[in-house]
Amino acid sequence: MSAVTVNERTSAPAERDLRFTRVLRSEWIKQWSLRSSAITLGATLAVMILFGVVSSLSATGSVETTGPGGGGGDPFSGSGDPLATVLAGANFGVLIVSVFGVLAGAREYGSGMIRSTMAAVPARLPVLWAKVAVLVSTLLVVAVLGVFVAYFAGNAILSSADAATAQWSDEGVVRALLGNVAYLVGLGVIGLALGLILRSIGGGLGTLIGGILFLPTLASALLPDTWDSALKYLPSNAAQSFTAVAAPETLLSAGQGAVVFALWLVVAVAGAAVAIRVRDV
């Protein structure tokens, strides 16, 4: 077909060894060579910043967001907590980040690519660690940008209208900002783990979004109050204790919440590690 030969002329044999940094690079190339990655991450950023800005404008009365039905269920009408107002987009960010994480885990099982990947990295686990590392570093940048740009932009809007702002020095504000970053990144990783365990985009998304968004609301509505002491350990309720400036009394303290959420994360990733090791690809 051409003069090209199959032979590659490399000198030292070790030049073609498998190394973790190389697997990391492989996963990095994989992530950025799919156009959907940049689109999804860009959308996360845009949603978090734009919703924060709109929500802040609406809180200062600069924008009328009340539709015909009145302001009752309006997501932009802040609860009076200025941090919640400027971070109004985080709730949507959480959704998109969940999708991104699940896709990062389940996509290769859907396409069959996982067999090519594990044939190249037969030790298997380096692939998991590399996927986690790439996802964490990417989401960290997106979450930090999204949360802090929304915070500063929203605060600027609020203060220009002489409305109450969430001052950097106010108690719990910095913690809540960092908490939101951690929650976004953590959810993405839990999504990744679920995608790898369930090997299905639909299954992973259903489990994560059902468990994060609907289960807490549904359970607290249906179950008697005595269950509340258990429900606060659900990932989203645990996270609420450190993502809000002042969480309701019924929830864990910020520190406890962080530990519980971290445990969920560790359990999910450990589950993925076991699934990857034990099961046939």
Partner: protein, 312 residues
């Protein structure tokens, strides 16, 4: 070098591979033949460590593939050309996989050129035709310049030009001293490329021998003799041959006597010969003969076939 020892894989009740033992040596193309569902792909997945054997072991260059220090350098594989993320370009697919062992852009470009995909390297792999996908799979297999090349039905979907090319490629790879292990259920294909054969049926090894031995063992050589005086040859040949059949008056088919002896005999007797042809059994026939009992999924003989839900 591949060494497969007592390899067994059960999926629930199904024993896909059943105590298989064989070696694949470097320097020759080894064909891995068997009818549908015989266990070829399962064996290959176990060699790769993708499926864990129920028992037994598979060694690549003397150790389990899982322990390989430079996997892509050691074993290059094409399992299923569809094992790619559809949204990624061919070039980035190769870059991503190659990156695991530090393979860079130059090598990726070389491989794209080798398999003839340079012009479509930026197209998404999902848009590829079967044959283009197959070429990408072959590029993936050769990316690490591996000492063992293992391809599961590589000619699948290739056009005649592509088939021609891969035949040459496989022989070249073997000539360079690599171990080349290629599965197929197309006997006619293996006949042209493989020097050694491992035949599997219902998960068990039926034959493990050179191509020549395989053909000889499965079906004896026959000689076709055309002579206006065929009747005069018939009697003396019957004394020597396993069988002599005659479909037409002037034609004899002799089994078990080489053409040279028949020719000499005719000369001695002064019998005129118009034709003397050795007919060796085709590999296709030999294979069908050998695997007759182990073919699981027969096509229906008539148009009255019913689909009984099992597998088609």
């Amino acid at each position: 070098m591949l060494e497969i020892v007592e390899l067994t894989k059960r999926y629930g009740d199904v024993t896909a591979v059943d105590g298989v033992t064989f070696r694949v040596r470097p320097g020759v193309v080894t064909g891995f033949l068997g009818p549908n569902g015989a266990g070829k792909s399962t064996t290959m997945r176990m060699i790769l460590g993708l499926d864990k054997p129920t028992s037994g072991s598979a060694l690549v260059n003397g150790r389990p593939y899982v322990d390989s220090r430079a996997p892509m350098r050691e074993l290059g594989v094409l399992l299923d050309a569809r094992n790619v993320d559809k949204g990624r370009s061919a070039r980035n697919h190769l870059r991503a996989l190659g990156a695991t062992v530090g393979i860079g852009r130059t090598r990726v470009e070389d491989l794209l050129e080798l398999v003839g995909l340079s012009d479509v390297a930026d197209k998404s792999a999902g848009s590829f035709s079967l044959g283009m996908g197959q070429r990408l799979g072959i590029a993936t297999a050769l990316l690490g310049d591996p000492s063992v090349v293992m391809l599961d039905e590589p000619v699948n979907g290739l056009d005649p030009d592509g088939i021609q090319w891969i035949r040459g490629l496989l022989k070249d790879l073997a000539a360079e001293g690599r171990t080349v292990f290629v599965s197929s259920h197309l006997m006619s294909e293996m006949e042209l490329t493989a020097e050694h054969l491992v035949v599997i049926g219902r998960g068990r090894i039926i034959a493990d021998m050179s191509m020549d031995d395989f053909i000889a063992s499965a079906s004896p050589d026959r000689v076709r003799v055309v002579s206006p005086e065929a009747v005069r040859l018939r009697e003396p040949l019957l004394a020597l041959a396993k069988s002599v059949t005659s479909a037409e008056a002037q034609v004899l088919e002799v089994e078990g006597v080489p053409a040279s002896i028949i020719g000499d005999l005719a000369a001695e007797l002064g019998v005129r010969l118009h034709e003397l042809t050795s007919i060796s059994a085709s590999l296709e026939e030999a294979f069908m003969e050998l695997t007759r009992e182990s073919v699981q999924y027969h096509g229906a003989a008539s148009g009255h076939a019913t689909i009984d839900g099992a597998r088609a």
